[in-house]
Symmetry: C2
Subunit: 382 residues, 2 copies
C-alpha cells in the first residue's frame, strides 16, 4: 500500500465537480457532485442521532440495496428539522439528478451540511444542476472542487488517496471529508465520501466500511456533540478489474487496510482542522478489558473540557485525566492500577498514554484542544 497524491477522481471511472449555487451567501463553492461512470456497489454509515436530517433518511433508504452511481452534496444548509418539505426537496434532488445523469433516483445519494431549521433552497440547486453536471471531469482539480464544496467553516480541504495491489491488480481508494464547521443554528457535521475502483460485493463493502469507520471516524471527537447529518459513503465501481471480493480473505484484508488508512488520514485531518484547534491530542488507552472499554475511556478523556483546556494551555495536568477516567466508575480502575504518561505538552502533537492495568486490550482516540478561538467561533457566530 502506498499513499499517493490524489482525490476522489483518482480511482478509475470517477468524475466530480463543485460549484457555487448561491446557497452560501459568501459565494463560495456549495454544491458538489460525484459520479461513477458505471453503477457502483455502495455503502454508508450514518449518525445515530435520533434527530436525522432529510437527506440522511433518503440516502439511508437508497443505500439499502448497496447500489449507487452518484452523490449530490450541498453545504450552507443542513436540510434538517425542515418538515415534510425538507424531505420532499431531498427526494426531488435525487429525481432531478437522476434525469440529468440518466440514473435511477434511488441510485443517488444526497447529503447536506449547514444551517439547521431553514428550508433547503431547492430552486437554487435546480438552477445550478445542469452546470454542475456539464462540468463533471475526472481531473484532480474536479475532485478538489467537490472536496471544497462540502466545507463549512473548515479552514482546509481534506483529501486522501492510496494505491494497493489486490488479486494482482492496481486498486485505488480515495476520499474527501469535512469536519467541524458551524453556521448558526447548527453544530459540527462530519461528512466523508470515498471512491474506489475495487470490485467488491455489497455485503463485504458494508462490513469493511463499518469496521474502518469504527476504528477511525468513530474515534475522533472535537466536542463530544453528535450531529444530525453525519454520514460516510463509499462507492466501489469495480473498474480495477480484480476478482470481486465476496468473502473474507487476503484481498479483503488488503482492501480493509487501505480503506482504514484513507479514513484515518481524513479523520486526523478533521481533528487538526477542528474549530479553534491548535493541537492534535492522541489518547492511547492500554490494559483494558476490551477494545470497546479502551475506546470508551479514550473518548471520556477526549471529551473532557478540562483535559482539552489544559492541552491548550500546555499544562500537563494528569489529575484531570485521572478524574476523567475515574468518572466512568469502572471497577478496579483506582489509584492503585491507573498509570498516566504524557509526551511533551508544548508540541503540536500530544500523546496521552493511559494504562488501566486491568486487561490486555487497547484503543487510540484523537481529539483537539479547546481554545479561546473555539469559544469565539461558537459564541459569536450569528
Amino acid at each position: 500500500m502506498k499513499t499517493i497524491k490524489g482525490g476522489i477522481t483518482t480511482p478509475l471511472g470517477f468524475k466530480a465537480n463543485g460549484i457555487a449555487s448561491g446557497i452560501k451567501r459568501s459565494g463560495k463553492l456549495d454544491l458538489g457532485l460525484i459520479f461513477s461512470e458505471r453503477p457502483a456497489t455502495a455503502s454508508g454509515v450514518f449518525t445515530k442521532n435520533s434527530v436525522k436530517a432529510a437527506p440522511l433518511l433518503i440516502s439511508q433508504k437508497n443505500l439499502r440495496h448497496h447500489k449507487a452511481q452518484a452523490v449530490v452534496v450541498n453545504s450552507g444548509n443542513a436540510n434538517c428539522f425542515t418538515g415534510s418539505f425538507g424531505y420532499l426537496y431531498a427526494e426531488k434532488t435525487t429525481e432531478l439528478f437522476g434525469k440529468l445523469l440518466n440514473v435511477q433516483p434511488q441510485h443517488i445519494v444526497v447529503a447536506s451540511t449547514g444551517i439547521i431549521g431553514k428550508p433547503l433552497p431547492y430552486l437554487k440547486i435546480k438552477a445550478a444542476s445542469q452546470k454542475l453536471v456539464k462540468g463533471l471531469a475526472n481531473t484532480q482539480d474536479a475532485g478538489r472542487k467537490t472536496a471544497k464544496a462540502i466545507l463549512t467553516t473548515d479552514l482546509k480541504t481534506k483529501e486522501a488517496c492510496v494505491r494497493c495491489t489486490l488479486d494482482g491488480r492496481k486498486v485505488l481508494i480515495a476520499g474527501c471529508a469535512k469536519g467541524s464547521g458551524m453556521i448558526a443554528p447548527n453544530m459540527a457535521t462530519m461528512l466523508g465520501f470515498i471512491t474506489t475502483d475495487a470490485a467488491i460485493s455489497g455485503g463485504m463493502l458494508q462490513a469493511a466500511l463499518r469496521q474502518a469507520n469504527e476504528e477511525t471516524f468513530n474515534r475522533i471527537t472535537i466536542d463530544g456533540c453528535m450531529s444530525t447529518n453525519d454520514m460516510v459513503v463509499v462507492m466501489a465501481n469495480g473498474l480495477a478489474g480484480n476478482k470481486p471480493m465476496t468473502m473474507p480473505g487476503k484481498d479483503y484484508q488488503g482492501f480493509l487496510k487501505a480503506l482504514k488508512f484513507v479514513c484515518l488520514d481524513l479523520a486526523k485531518k478533521i481533528v487538526v482542522d477542528g474549530e479553534g484547534a491548535t493541537k492534535l491530542i492522541e489518547i492511547r488507552v492500554t490494559g483494558a478489558k476490551s477494545e470497546s472499554q479502551a475506546k470508551t475511556v479514550g473518548l471520556q478523556i477526549g471529551n473532557s473540557v478540562l483535559v482539552k483546556t489544559a492541552a491548550f494551555g500546555s499544562n500537563p495536568n494528569w489529575g484531570r485525566v485521572a478524574a476523567a477516567v475515574g468518572s466512568l466508575a469502572i471497577k478496579k480502575v483506582t489509584e492503585d492500577h491507573l498509570k498516566i504518561k504524557f509526551s511533551s505538552f508544548a508540541k503540536k502533537h500530544i500523546v496521552i498514554h493511559v494504562d488501566l492495568n486491568i486487561g490486555r486490550h487497547q484503543s487510540v482516540v484523537y481529539t483537539s484542544d479547546l481554545s479561546y478561538e473555539y469559544v469565539r467561533i461558537n459564541a459569536e457566530y450569528n
Copy 2:
C-alpha cells in the same frame, strides 16, 4: 418554611471556625472545622468516581454508622492520588482532632479540595489544629469562616439557611458549599456541609440526603467532569427537640422539603459562581417517560459545549439543543415530537424548555455558560 439569614452555626449547638494554616500559599483561609456540641446523626453522599481521594474513603467508612460530631476540611490540597501516606495523613487528622475535641476519631469527617497528587501538608494542619479548635464559636461570623476556608477559586462564599416547624418545634437547617474552582493539576470539586438541629434517625437522614442530593446537587453541571473529592455531609444533632423522625410522614416530608431548599439554593449558587460563568442556564425537560430520562436529557443539553458557548454568545441556537437531545438516540425523540422553547438569551438567567412529547415526567437541570474566562482559568493556571 422560611429562608433566614444564617449559616452552619445558626442551627442550635453548632460551632465552627476557619483559619489560614499555610496550605494555600496565598495566605487565605484553608482549614475549617464544624463541631456539634452533642454527637449528631450524620450521613453523606460521595462521588461515584472510581478514583477517590483518601479523606473521602475515610469519611465514607466513618459515616457507615450514621454518627459524627465534627467535620475537618481543608482547601489547597485534595489529598488524592497520594498513596498510602495520603490515607495515613487523613486518618491521623481524625485522630488529632478526636483528641482535641474529646471525640472518637471515627466520629470525625474529613474532606479536602485542591491540588491532586501532592502530599497533604499534615504538619501544617497539626501545627494549626489547637488554634482552630480554640477559635470555635457559634456566631454567624464563625460559620462564614468555614464557608470561606473551603473555597478554592470560587469567587463567592456560598451559604444558605431555612427555618421550618416540625412537630410544633422550630427547626433550623443550614449549609455551606464550594463549587468549581481549580488549582492545577486539579478539577472542579463540589463540597457541601449541612447542619441541622432536627432530631432524625440515621436511616431517615440518609434517605433524605440521598433524595435531596439527587434533585439538587446531582442536577447541576459546570463542565460534565466528575471530581475525585465530591461529598455532601449532613449532621443532625436533635437539639430542636422535635420527636425524632424515624418513619416517613408529615414531619419527614417537611424536613425533606427544607433540606432540598437548602441544597438547591447552594447548588444554584455553585452554578452562578462556576468558572467563568456569566449566565445561569435552567433546562426544563418535560414530556419524558421517566424523571430519570428527563434528567439525562437535561444533563446532555447542560454538558453540550455547543449549547454553553451559544448561551455565552446570547445566541438562541435551538439546532444545537435538538442535536444534543437527539444524540441520546432515545426512541421516538425525533423532529416530529421534539419541541424547544427559549426565554430571552440576552438575560443573566436563561430558560431552555424541551418537551420530548413521549411521556408525562419532567426534571430541571442547571448549568452555566462556557466563556473565554473558563478557557483562561483552565488553560493558563499553573
